[in-house]
Structures are given as C-alpha cells and as structure tokens.
C-alpha cells in the first residue's frame, strides 16, 4: 500500500484475525520494517484484533502507514461497539499474563508498540490505537 492510505478490515471471525495479521505484515514489509519490528507489530495486531472479536463482539481495524521527519510508522486502530472495558488499568496489568487476568491481550500488545491509547466506556464500545515506529525504515523520496 502507498503512504497516506488507510486500509479498513472487518474483524468478525478468527479467519479475519489471521487476515488482519497478514495485512499488517504486508504493510510492515512494504514500509521497510526490520524482521523483528515486523514480528512485533503483527503480533500486537493479532492481540488487539482478538480482543476486538472476543470482548468487543467484533468490529474493524484501520491500518495506516505514517511518515514524517521522525521516520516511518504503522498506525493501527481497532474499534468495536462492545461492552467496553470497565477498568482499563486492570486490563493492562500483568495479571493477564499469568492467565488470571481478563485475558484481553492489551498489556502484551502495549509493550510491543511505542504509542498506545485506549478509549473505552462501559457499554459504549472501545477504540484502541497502537503506533509502531521503525528504526530501520528509510525515508524514500516519493
């Protein structure tokens, strides 16, 4: 995909979670991310897509490649109209990784990206935005 384009994918099944991973991988490769950087952003996408499906009841992902003088980044936005997250701090806490937590996958995803915001209201849906910057992607003259 070219820069400045936003791709929108529906997240309504586990096959679509896999589809989201694939789309993010392709964008990361095209944007010049290193292998480890690709792996991190694709894994984060997988976590967030699953959260959208399992806890949000389904929704969509928007994918954009961003570029400025600071370099290149991939921005992912996951939106659902689900029940929302009552306690965002708890959802991000480490209780998740031992399996005792809500299992929302948010804490892990947050550690893989550089910018991470959650906008959620109980009963009002959830929007999660994650941005991963690349240290290796070179700015290419258009």
């Amino acid at each position: 995909m070219s820069l400045d384009e936003v791709t929108r994918l529906e997240i309504g099944s586990d096959v679509q979670i896999a589809g989201a991973r694939q789309a993010v991988r392709e964008a990361a490769v095209a944007a010049g991310f290193s292998l480890v950087e690709q792996t991190k952003i694709v894994t984060a996408a997988s976590e967030l897509a699953r959260n959208t499906l399992v806890h949000g009841g389904g929704g969509h992902m928007e994918l954009a490649v961003v570029e400025n003088s600071g370099g290149r980044a991939i921005r992912l936005t996951f939106t659902d109209d689900g029940p929302g997250i009552p306690d965002v701090d708890a959802a991000l806490s480490d209780g998740y990784s031992t399996g005792n937590g809500l299992g929302l996958g948010l804490g892990g995803a947050r550690r893989l990206v550089q910018e991470f915001t959650i906008d959620s209201r109980p009963g009002g849906g959830t929007t999660v935005t994650a941005v991963a910057w690349s240290r290796t992607a070179q700015r290419v003259p258009r």
Binding site: D14, I17, T39, T43, S46, R50, Y96, S97, G105
Partner: protein, 124 residues
C-alpha cells in the same frame, strides 16, 4: 492423523511413543484449538511425549502461547512431556518483550534435539 480445521492443517506423526506436530504455517485460533484437542486425545491414548516443531511459525501471540502451555500441562498430567522446538529468534524476542516467558515449557533447538531429550538424556 491430522488436525484440520479451517485454514491450518497440522500433521501429527507418531514415532514410537512420541507425537510430533510440525506447524508449517500460521494457524487460526480454531486450528490451534483443534491441534490442542487432537494432541491431548492422542497423548491420553498412550504417548509418552509430544514435540511441537515451530520453526515455520513467524508469529506466536498470547493465544498460541497459551495453547502451547496448555498442551504441555495436559501431557504432564498424562505422565508425559511436551517440548517446543525450533522457535525463531524474532518470535522469542517478541514473547519476552510482551512479558510471556513461558516458564515451565520445555524447549529445544530442533526436532532432533527434542527427540534426544526423550532418549534418556537429562532434561533441561
């Protein structure tokens, strides 16, 4: 016997009392769960160990990590061992970055090394 659900197809081979599942490609959640169910069933039917070979896997997220841990827990209960072999560097880095160290999961560099573990050598 194969675990085939949706996009992913994982062949499970049996070598003596060891089950070997080589995951060749990315799995959907459904196929991961199918693999878990099949391996657990086969282990209960009489296998002493399971090797899950993941050198072909580029992404291991928390879901797949949990499935792997659960397979290991199940085989342990059935008096066996599960070894995850061939994890890629980028996958290992991403898992520890997420805070998932999967302690308690045995690992090996390759299928060959994993099989050696079952041949009487001391486990790690």
């Amino acid at each position: 016997m194969t675990a085939d659900a949706g996009a992913g197809r994982v062949s499970v081979l049996r070598m003596g009392e060891i089950l070997i599942a080589a995951i060749q490609q990315e799995l959907t959640d459904e196929s991961a769960l199918a693999l878990q169910s099949d391996l657990t069933e086969m282990a209960a039917a009489g296998a002493r160990g399971v090797v899950i070979e993941i050198s072909g896997v580029e992404i291991v997220d928390s879901f797949l990590a949990r499935v792997l841990s659960e397979i290991a827990a199940a085989t342990n209960m059935l008096a066996g061992r599960t070894v995850v072999a061939g994890m890629r560097p980028s996958v290992a880095i991403t898992l520890v970055e997420m805070g998932l160290s999967l302690r308690g999961l045995e690992t090996a560099r390759s299928l060959e090394d994993a099989m050696a573990l079952f041949q009487g050598q001391a486990g790690r």
